[in-house]
């Protein structure tokens, strides 16, 4: 057995690599009794760990902004007003105004939806693609495993951010392509996690039992393996959400992001970067802060979720 922890997971700096697998494989499908304890455990984790609690609160705020953003923004995020350009934060404009006199607070709030959407869709996409191929690779082994493994290896061998840049540059800079690029560079990570999880359950008792009762392999994959792999994948999703947001922002920063004048945090930081030296720090600062808080929130939340879903790996 390879005692090395999964290095690729570590390489995606955001996530914590799984421990060297000293513990026995995780438990099979939960019974209803375990379900009860699961809820209790969730409550325990949230109340016991103040950090997770705070992260959860932050998440609610972010979700609220994403859903109701356009209604709660005090100004029109797109309306320019060159008469009041580059104003420092004030009572009228809490976060100040940018070069064209647009209200930064409104832009930051409205941008939440787009940034979150990019993250959610890219993570969902890679969850389906990476998760399914990973589970199949782990469950069937053999050629499936080899092919999926090779594809993942090849992607890993790329400098990931540059690969994302290349994909967006080649396909054109639209939101869809940013989502695709972000999904592709996260692919190996999901494959590995799903593969490992499926692999340890391949010969587990409950799978054997299903086989004996005459279920086909595909059926077992869908009804037995997948539900069991799900929880750990959900944790993975929460952890990579933050990375997805950072990645999209990075693309925007070098000019490959969404189209102007759509507000987006990364592009706002990039636009504001040129103004920092001349003292107009607020243009880049507030979107940067929002970006940081959102990523921070998802990372902490991912940790918390892991504690809930996978107590045995709890650290």
């Amino acid at each position: 057995m390879n005692r090395r922890p999964n290095p690729e997971t570590a390489a995606i700096a955001v996530t914590e690599p799984p421990l060297p697998t000293l513990a026995p494989p995780a438990a099979p499908a939960r019974t209803s009794a375990q379900h009860m304890s699961f809820l209790a455990h969730a409550r325990y984790v949230i109340t016991d760990n103040p950090v997770t609690g705070i992260a959860f609160g932050m998440f609610l705020v972010i979700a609220f902004c994403a859903i109701f953003g356009p209604w709660i923004a005090p100004h029109d995020p797109l309306a320019s007003n060159t008469g009041s350009a580059l104003q420092a934060p004030s009572l009228r404009h809490w976060f100040g105004t940018d070069q064209l006199g647009r209200d930064i607070l409104s832009r930051v709030i409205v941008a939440t939806r787009l940034d979150l959407a990019i993250a959610v869709f890219s993570v969902a996409l890679v969850f389906v693609l990476g998760g399914l191929s990973g589970v199949a690779a782990g469950f069937f082994g053999g050629w499936t495993d080899r092919i999926v493994g090779r594809v993942a290896d090849t992607i890993m061998a790329f400098p990931l951010f540059v690969l994302a840049m290349g994909i967006v540059a080649a396909l054109g800079n639209t939101v869809t392509n940013i989502v695709i690029a972000t999904a592709i560079i996260n692919f190996p990570l999901y494959v590995r996690v799903a593969r490992a999880e499926a692999n340890v359950r391949r010969e587990a008792g409950f799978v054997q039992a299903a086989r004996l009762s005459g279920n086909g392999e595909y059926r077992i994959l869908l009804t037995q393996i997948l539900p069991n792999v799900m929880p750990i994948m959900v944790v993975q999703m929460s952890l990579t959400m933050g990375y997805a947001i950072l990645n999209a922002a990075g693309l925007s920063f070098i000019g490959l992001g969404v189209r102007p004048p759509t507000p987006e945090w990364g592009i706002m930081v990039a636009e504001g970067a040129a103004f920092i030296v001349s003292g107009e720090w607020w243009i880049a600062f507030f979107p940067g802060l929002a970006l940081m808080l959102a990523v921070f929130c998802f990372n902490l939340l991912g940790d918390g979720l892991r504690d809930i879903v996978d107590p045995q790996r709890r650290t």
């Binding site: 890993m156 061998a157 790329f158 540059v162 080649a170 990075g250 940067g288 921070f296």
Partner: protein, 337 residues
């Protein structure tokens, strides 16, 4: 041993081939026409067509690919349009800059992250543990370009503590004689403390930016691995036999916990080397990352291909090195893994 290394290499070959093919295809789909660039601002469509022919861009893709691979075989990575130099020269010139920056960033990160991780593990569940987690997570949540900008503003522009973000060396210093390409090492070899100080002061801000970003994976790995070791039998035995906690942690637990951390370090290094493109852009650092960005923005194929290929090969080599290192530290681990 040699045979094992060879075997390990063989398994990496398909990835490298995959990288070559994907990069080639990706760069061909990139918008932007090399021929139009060459033809200059006043070119007619006919002139561009002629240039396309001389560059071989009118040939079918498979034929172009074969030619590209043949050139690669001869060590010819093509020429950059933006710098006008052969790509291999550019990369050789810039790689030490990136490597030095990344390595220093990693060292700073280790100096902070490893003690932090140990502390968190030893005081598991305490306020310190939570604080460590928050600090590390906050670091990784900061977009590197944002951190870099803020650091430049505060430490160079407002406080004036740091020198101008103008690349590797203040212009009034000349580069130390070339030995390793790492200015810090070269200036020490040349016995020139002035240049050493100048190079170091240029390095600090970008290195700190990278360090902040890489804090999280190292802290987490250290903490996780320490926890696993601390609950293991031999540590319990050591504790039971009355050794001081300090001794137990430092000589018993720490040594053993370092194994997975080493792997993480290698991976973080290779990840950072590719990910510091944004840091290099902010600090005008003449490394391979900023080189790749500029090339991509200008639709300059050859440097992108060269950069990606270099990174892929580095990645494979680094992996191999870590495997070997791992084998050295822990003889129970065999290479075939």
């Amino acid at each position: 041993m040699l045979r094992q290394i060879g075997k390990r290499f063989a398994t990496a070959i398909p990835s490298v081939i995959g990288v070559i093919i994907v990069t080639f295809l990706l760069t061909r789909v990139l918008p932007g026409d090399t021929a139009a660039y060459f033809a200059g601002p006043a070119a007619t469509p006919q002139a561009i067509e002629e240039i396309r022919k001389t560059l071989g861009l009118d040939r079918p893709l498979p034929e172009q690919f074969v030619r590209y691979v043949k050139d690669l075989g001869r060590g010819d990575f093509g020429k950059s349009l933006t710098t006008g130099q052969p790509v291999i020269t550019d990369i050789a010139q810039r790689l030490p800059a990136s490597a030095e920056l990344t390595l220093l960033g990693l060292i700073i990160s280790i100096l902070i992250a490893v003690p932090l991780g140990i502390l968190a593990a030893v005081k598991q569940g305490s306020l310190i543990d939570h604080a460590c987690r928050v600090v590390a997570t906050a670091g990784v949540s900061l977009p590197v370009f944002f951190t870099g900008l803020i650091l430049v503003y505060v430490f160079y522009f407002i406080l004036g503590w740091s020198p101008a973000p103008l690349g590797r060396l203040d212009i009034y210093y000349s580069t130390p004689p070339h030995v390793t390409g790492f200015y810090l090492i070269d200036s020490l070899i040349a016995g020139d403390p002035g240049t050493f100080r100048a190079a170091l002061s240029q390095l600090i801000l970008p290195a700190v930016t990278l360090a902040i970003f890489s804090l999280a994976p190292i802290t987490r790995m250290t903490r996780a691995s320490m926890l696993a070791v601390l609950s293991s039998d031999f540590v319990r035995t050591a504790r039971a036999s009355g050794l001081s906690p300090r001794r137990v942690i430092v000589t018993y637990a720490f040594r053993n916990a370092m194994l997975p951390v080493v792997t993480t370090l290698g991976m973080v290094f290779s990840f950072l080397l590719g990910a510091n493109v944004l840091v290099e852009k902010v600090f005008a650092w003449p490394g391979i990352g900023s080189y790749a960005i500029e090339a991509l923005i200008a639709s300059d194929f050859a440097p992108i291909q060269g950069f990606v290929l270099t990174m892929a090969i580095l990645y494979v080599l680094l992996n191999l090195m870590i495997d070997m290192l791992y084998g050295v530290i822990d003889p129970r681990v065999r290479l075939e893994g």
